[in-house]
Amino acid sequence: MYKAEIYITLKEGVLDPQGSAVEKALHSMNFRGVQEVRIGKFMQVVLSADSLEAANQQVKEMCDSLLANPVIEEYTFNLQEVEK
């Protein structure tokens, strides 16, 4: 079994209204050092596959086809073998 930890973020340059709102809230709470907030998604997918490489390929396909929208988002993931 493998566990993928997937991070999906908006591409650089794509406006993030949620991030901007949170950034303003942090400023109003006196976190004056805050330069930027960007909000994304974190997903955990546990899957079975024949090898780490096969699992890697599957997760990549999942991200490309469904989990991320390539028009506005990009993704990274960590993959590790886990006990059943």
Partner: protein, 235 residues
């Protein structure tokens, strides 16, 4: 005109579209369950508004993998009329039948209000009953209608007349104040290369009778009927 209305789990404007087509326009409309793979017998397919699959992940992201969508894609690529309204527009974007993507409204609000729309292209199967530059009033109701396309795609859309509607003020100017969600270039609706696929965030089916506080939605359906009867659109 025989309209097929796709019903996804979570669609909620399917009844309104059926009422608009059947009761107001006097034409035929049937529901197509999302598991159905045959859409061939209709003159037009409508992807209605709502919250298909609870908008989980992203609006339209899961619906686009419904069995019916493969048939809708084939139908669209074959030149069939496809109208995506609100969530239906999001589904068309996710399915790649139209370019771009939706972001959260820049004001982070769910906007449920009337909007003024400028008809930028009146030569489509969905707008031929309008004058170019005509100002329509059609309501919106969404929180993810902030249209985005990269600069290159945007230029292509603009240059080829595929921006069909723009949010504007009552005099027809696309000002920042009249933009309810932050969409690039005030875009409210776009069509594909062929002009036979239209995605729009505003809901024409919600302004079909005086009692609904407006009747401009009728023009969209009249245009479709005109087109199907050989009367206009797609030069």
């Amino acid at each position: 005109m025989k309209v097929g209305i796709v019903v996804f789990p979570g669609s909620n404007c399917d009844l309104d579209v059926k009422y608009a087509v059947q009761d107001v326009m006097g034409h035929e409309a049937e529901y197509i369950w999302h598991r159905n793979k045959d859409v061939g017998k209709y003159d037009c397919i409508v992807l209605p508004g709502g919250f298909s699959y609870g908008d989980y992940l992203r609006g339209g992201a899961i619906a686009r993998f419904s069995p019916v969508m493969e048939a809708v894609s084939e139908y669209a690529l074959g030149g069939g009329l496809v109208l995506g309204i609100c969530n239906g527009f999001q589904i068309l974007l996710e399915a790649g039948l139209l370019p771009g993507a939706m972001r959260k409204n820049d004001n982070l609000q769910f906007r449920c209000q009337n909007t003024h729309l400028r008809v930028v292209n009146s030569k489509t199967p969905f707008t031929n009953a309008c004058r170019k530059g005509e100002i329509l009033q059609i309501p919106i109701a969404h929180s993810d209608g902030n249209y985005y396309a990269d600069a290159e795609t945007l230029k292509e859309l603009e240059d080829s007349g595929r921006v069909v509607f723009r949010y504007c003020n009552p005099s027809g100017e696309p000002t920042p104040e009249s933009n309810p969600n932050g969409s690039v270039n005030n875009i409210a609706g776009i069509c594909n290369h062929g002009g036979n696929v239209l995605g729009m965030m505003p809901h024409p089916e919600r302004c079909m009778e005086e009692i609904m506080s407006g009747t401009d939605g009728v023009k969209i359906f009249i245009s479709m009927i005109n087109f199907l009867e050989g009367g206009g659109g797609l030069e």
